[in-house]
């Protein structure tokens, strides 16, 4: 909002509202182009040093090779892998995050629940989540269930932790306004606690989503016949670094898209926040 306010306040520029939006857009595009500069530079650099033979192509394929591999995959098995992975992540994230929200609300709103539950969760949290893998494989086999459960565990803790912190960080003074009006517990939650905790909840959901992708890869690397993690280990076993890198790129794109979706929701629901946006004006 304020990144272009300097331009707008320039007295030599008499701007109609339509001009302002185009200026705003072009400004945003300029920022995006700045963000693209470094990746493009790296790609060009890699392409050159692979082509002139400084790096052996069997270890580091040229970016153009990777693009070709990606194209080949897109005509064949890629979509199958993507849909398998996406389904697992979404299912695991949905289960883990909703359980986490329920427990976070419970622990956040009740000292009693905190006393009973928090020590157990603190203990479970200190287990590195990947240590569950062998147990899940023993209990649930190597099919979908064990993978979804692992992803759910991965997504659970960041959402739970941020949720509890979000509720406990609510300004007591706002809660007192609700007391002043004699709000019931339910009304207090709906009218004050939930909206006030929303920023923290979104932080939790976004880090939960990124951990869900991480655990997806872990689950699929270990035992899978489909999915992007499988593509990674398949590329390694067949000595095809181009496939590995293609899978990495697809993972990055999917991770970015899912985070972008949450960020978009966050921006929409939290437009009321009065926070520092990186520019001083």
């Amino acid at each position: 909002m304020s990144s272009n306010s300097k331009d707008l306040s320039n007295p030599h520029l008499a701007l109609s509202p339509a001009d302002r939006t185009t200026l705003f857009d072009s400004d945003r595009w300029r920022l995006r182009l700045k963000g693209l500069a470094l990746p493009v530079l790296i790609i060009v650099f890699l392409e050159i040093i692979v082509r002139i033979g400084w790096l052996p192509a069997y270890q580091m394929p040229a970016p153009s090779e990777i693009a070709l591999t990606l194209g080949d995959l897109a005509e064949g098995a890629l979509w199958k892998h993507i849909s398998a992975s996406l389904l697992r992540v979404l299912l695991g994230f949905a289960i883990g995050a909703s359980l986490a929200l329920v427990f976070a609300a419970w622990v956040g709103l009740s000292r009693e629940a905190e006393a009973y539950l928090e020590p157990t969760f603190a203990g479970l949290r200190s287990i590195p989540s990947l240590a569950w893998v062998p147990l899940l494989l023993l209990w649930l086999g190597i099919d979908e269930t064990s993978k979804v459960v692992l992803i759910a565990i991965g997504a659970f803790f960041p959402v739970y932790l941020n949720g509890v912190a979000a509720i406990r960080n609510i300004d007591r003074k706002l809660v007192e306004v609700g007391h002043m009006y004699g709000f019931s517990r339910r009304r207090l939650v709906r009218r004050i606690l939930l909206p006030a905790a929303l920023p923290g909840l979104f932080t939790g959901l976004r880090s939960g989503m990124s951990l869900a992708w991480m655990f997806l890869v872990a689950a699929e690397l270990i035992a899978a016949t489909r999915g992007l993690g499988y593509l990674l280990s398949d590329g390694r076993e067949t000595s095809r670094p181009d496939i590995v890198l293609a899978a990495i790129i697809v993972l990055a794109v999917l991770g970015k898209l899912s985070d972008g979706l949450l960020a978009g929701l966050e921006k929409r629901f939290l437009a009321w926040r009065d926070t520092f946006n990186g520019t001083e004006d």
Binding site: L174, M180, Y181, I192, P195, A271, R273
Partner: protein, 237 residues
């Protein structure tokens, strides 16, 4: 004398081992404006919270107490995710009386800001919204806890006049906590000068001046001298 809106006796109020309030008798008549004047931490805010029902743990009794009271806090305490009009109608969730809210917005001088978010408001404007929110429930008593202490001197004078205007128009009694001697005398019919801990009411100053008042009135200056003497004796200043 008409029936008092508020009649409260606080025998004693303690926090842990310190007694903050000691034997305080407080009455508020309809349409009356009373100020509690004392230093920060003398327990006057606690007294106000007892009156508001926010503080229930004290020795004493509410001899007469109206349910129709509203509270304006020191900070505006607006919900940052709600617009100005949603904040004013906050106590009625989404089905607030839109016409009444629009009238209140007009009366506090915020026309055109109905859909603004709190982040777009200055401190004085936010406090206007808080006052409108207090008036929304059509209270008979408005309790104010140092409502203008966070705004600059000029805004404060404007808000004081606005408050008197609104109290007059809606026939509301005001009970105000402040540490500003001028503010207490300018607004009130009675000023209760509080002692330091444990707080008692040290002296009651009646301000027998009609409204609207002139801030330069010599009577106000004389009363200010009296109040300052009392505060000095109480080792407050």
């Amino acid at each position: 004398m008409p029936h008092a809106l508020l009649d409260i006796h606080v025998a004693r109020k303690t926090f842990a081992t310190t007694t903050v309030l000691n034997d305080i008798h407080l009455q508020l008549q309809p349409r009356e404006t009373v100020s509690l004047l004392g230093p920060s931490g003398c327990g006057k805010s606690t007294l106000l919270r007892i009156v508001a029902g926010l503080e229930k743990d004290f020795e004493g009794q509410l001899l007469s107490h109206t349910e129709q009271l509203a509270f304006v806090f020191q900070e505006a305490r607006l919900m940052p995710w709600l617009t100005v009009q949603q904040n004013i109608g906050f106590s009625n969730d989404d089905h607030y009386d839109r016409a009444w809210v629009a009238q209140l917005i007009e009366e506090v001088g915020l026309s055109g800001f109905a859909d603004a978010l709190p982040k777009a408001l200055s401190g004085g404007m936010a406090q206007r919204v808080a006052i409108a929110r207090g008036l929304y429930s059509r209270p008979r008593v408005l309790l104010l806890d140092e409502p203008f202490s966070a705004v600059d001197a000029f805004t404060r004078m404007k808000l004081q006049d606005l408050l008197l205007q609104l109290a007059e128009r809606h026939a509301i009694a005001l009970l105000l906590v402040t540490h500003d001697v001028d503010e207490a005398l300018y607004l009130s019919d009675r000023v209760l000068v509080m002692d330091n801990r444990p707080s008692r009411i040290r002296q009651e100053l009646a301000v027998q001046l009609p409204h609207p008042r002139d801030r330069r009135d010599p009577l106000l200056a004389r009363l200010k001298a009296l109040a300052l003497t009392e505060l000095h004796r109480a080792h407050v200043i």
